[in-house]
């Protein structure tokens, strides 16, 4: 069969969702931000909620998310996206509101807003891109940077005694009564992308049903910040990030489902 006979409109099985604008993504080649953007937009397209969705862009590489997502968007100050989302959702309870944030944004400067928004149980979705580094500003250490990992502000590796421990904020928010669905996913393989999409769908369905806050961590590469090729970065991520940030659901429908939730790094249980 000739290729020309295959490439016909009636045979189309996958194309970029029209909810991504035609602007070229500003992300580095292989960066998970783009994949995650697409997954979210596909879910919004499938649910037919474009006209009722407001997204919040953070400060970080995804600050320009509004250039790529064809929905109404608000760019929030660094770390304050959950507060901005609260302001919108409280005044427009019937709308779908989500924030999209990096690890510096959500788990460093925005810790307080993250914790309190989750604890209040605002009926929104938070998408949290954990790439273990500050991508946008040139690769500084993030709260999520692994022990021993190098960054421009931990050039000899993260030293706990000196720079503190990596923070597993997702484990913390899973334990707050206001969260309904908390999960950790990735977008480095087709299977991972499909699972993430399921999670995003569930999160938006939760919002529709007004069940509380849904929180999706996406462990992602920052190949530029890590100074690796995209392929090598994904491999490094599997080998180093996933053991510390294990993928899977932590809380579903308001119930903790992860047995390991107590075994936070360095905390020994008796």
């Amino acid at each position: 069969m000739d290729i020309k006979d295959i490439i016909k409109p009636e045979n189309l099985v996958y194309k970029r969702t029209p909810l991504l604008t035609s602007n070229t993504l500003s992300y580095c080649p292989g960066c998970g931000h783009g994949t995650t953007h697409r997954v979210i937009m596909e879910v919004i397209e499938e649910m037919g909620i474009q006209a009722d969705t407001i997204g919040i862009a953070p400060v970080g590489c995804s600050v320009l998310a509004y250039d790529f997502m064809d929905i109404d968007m608000v760019q929030a100050a660094h770390g304050r996206a959950p507060a901005v989302a609260t302001g919108i959702k409280r005044t427009w309870p019937e709308k779908f509101v989500f924030s999209y944030q990096g690890d510096g944004d959500l788990a460093a400067i925005g810790t307080s807003e993250t914790i309190h928004c989750c604890n209040r149980g605002e009926s929104i979705v938070i998408i949290f891109i954990n790439n273990g580094i500050y991508g946008m500003t040139g690769g500084q250490m993030a709260p999520t940077t692994l022990v021993g990992m190098k960054s421009s502000t931990s050039p000899y590796g993260r030293d706990v005694a000196f720079m503190g421990n990596p923070l597993k904020i997702t484990e913390l928010v899973a334990q707050l009564p206001g969260t309904c669905f908390v999960t950790r996913q990735a977008v480095h393989t087709p299977a991972a992308v499909r699972k993430t999409k399921k999670a995003v769908r569930m999160a938006f369905e939760n919002q529709k049903a007004n069940k509380g806050l849904s929180f999706i961590e996406v462990v992602s590469n920052c190949n530029s910040g890590w100074k690796m090729t995209p392929v090598a970065a994904n491999k490094w991520m599997e080998e180093n990030m996933f053991p510390f940030y294990p993928l899977g659901d932590m809380k579903v429908d308001g119930r903790i489902v992860s047995k390991e939730l107590l075994s936070l790094a360095g905390v020994k249980t008796e």
């Binding site: 407001i54 109404d72 507060a83 901005v84 302001g87 427009w92 807003e113």
Partner: protein
């Protein structure tokens, strides 16, 4: 005549917010303005009009909740006092940059730092010149009575929406805590029609997506945006408001705003009892500052005393307005101490008449 009430300034703000059809209030407690949130809660604003009232976890969260709600075209406000307002500076700069209308109330207390909880006017520079980063301006209204605390809520919202710019009510512990007779305006409907062209309420098929942002990575675009803002600030000058008190025959002038203006009114009367023809110009808008009327008046007087509960901040705008053509001096107690009419008169005699 509307409903007459005896109310605290802070309560009047809250009641006026409800009546002005304010959609949302986000705030964090701090003396001397906690009554605003308390009143909204005890009056069940959320039942009376469906207004959203939320105690935020911090001032930072509060101003960013305001930012969010304002992005959708809602009439939204926050209130705080000096240290809390300092924490909001980044958010305020963002709102100015993104051209979001909103109302911020600062019931000023004595600083710097934790300072005192007593009244002060030492946040003038912060309010009028921009305590946050970048070139921006707020619309700044300075009420001098509980009545104005009520009226200016409505006015501030109107101006904020007219110019798509944050408005700030610069009050202080005196006006916030005192009770006076206030004539409340009629309840207004909440769901007002407003310009929907820029709001982020969900992209409908009939329009392009709306984006609220203060970012422009390209400096040329950012400069254009800044020019646009500057041009707007120029236009805002049309909103200048002030009150002349015994100015017609004045040989000398006091300039004072807010509670200090109240005190100066009395000082003017005391001076006139002594046969000295003093007038008082009370700026009602601090930005735009009533420079022109002041320049006009300066031509008729021999000296000007700028009276503030601060070490002297507004005096710079007074001096700039009158082009240093007439003697301008500052007087004011500060750090939480309120000057009395007699002290003002004394200073006036020494610095302006005698000096």
């Amino acid at each position: 005549m509307g409903e007459l009430q005896l109310m605290k300034g802070n309560e009047a703000i809250a009641e006026a917010a409800i009546r002005a059809g304010c959609d949302a209030y986000f705030g964090y407690p701090i003396t001397p303005q906690s009554e605003v949130l308390e009143y909204l809660m005890s009056e069940k604003a959320y039942e009376r009009t469906g207004m959203v009232v939320l105690q935020a976890e911090s001032e930072l969260a509060a101003i960013n909740m305001v930012y969010g709600a304002a992005s959708t075209g809602k009439r939204v406000m926050t209130s705080s006092s000096s240290p809390g307002i300092s924490l909001k500076q980044e958010g305020i700069s963002y709102m100015a940059g993104a051209e979001l209308p909103c109302l911020i109330v600062n019931v000023v207390r004595g600083g710097p730092g934790l300072g005192t909880i007593q009244p002060s006017q030492a946040d003038y520079f912060q309010s009028t010149k921009g305590g946050g980063h970048g070139d921006y301006r707020l619309l700044v209204l300075a009420p001098a009575s509980v009545q104005e605390m009520s009226d200016f809520v409505k006015l501030a919202f109107d101006l904020a929406f007219k110019y798509r710019n944050p408005a700030l009510i610069l009050s202080d512990g005196v006006i916030g805590q005192m009770m006076e007779k206030v004539e409340l305006f009629e309840q207004q409907p909440r769901a007002t029609t407003f310009d929907q062209s820029w709001v982020t309420t969900g992209k409908t098929p009939n329009r392009e997506r709306n984006i609220i942002t203060s970012l422009n990575l390209d400096p040329v675009l950012q400069e254009q945006h800044n020019h646009h803002l500057q041009e707007k600030y120029e236009r805002m000058k049309a909103e200048v408001r002030f009150e002349r008190y015994h100015c017609d025959d004045a040989e000398y002038l006091m300039v004072a705003y807010g509670s200090s203006a109240r005190i100066c009114q009395k000082a003017v009367l005391l001076a006139r009892e002594k046969g000295i023809r003093v007038g008082l110009l009370r700026p009602i808008t601090l930005y735009p500052f009533p420079s022109e009327p002041l320049l006009e008046l300066s031509k008729q007087v021999k000296g000007i005393l700028s009276v503030e509960m601060s070490a002297g901040q507004m005096i710079e705008d007074v001096r700039l307005a009158v082009h240093d053509t007439v003697k301008v001096e500052h007087y004011g107690r500060y750090g939480g101490v309120i000057h009395s009419p007699e002290e003002v008169l004394d200073a006036f005699m020494k610095k302006i008449v005698g000096g």
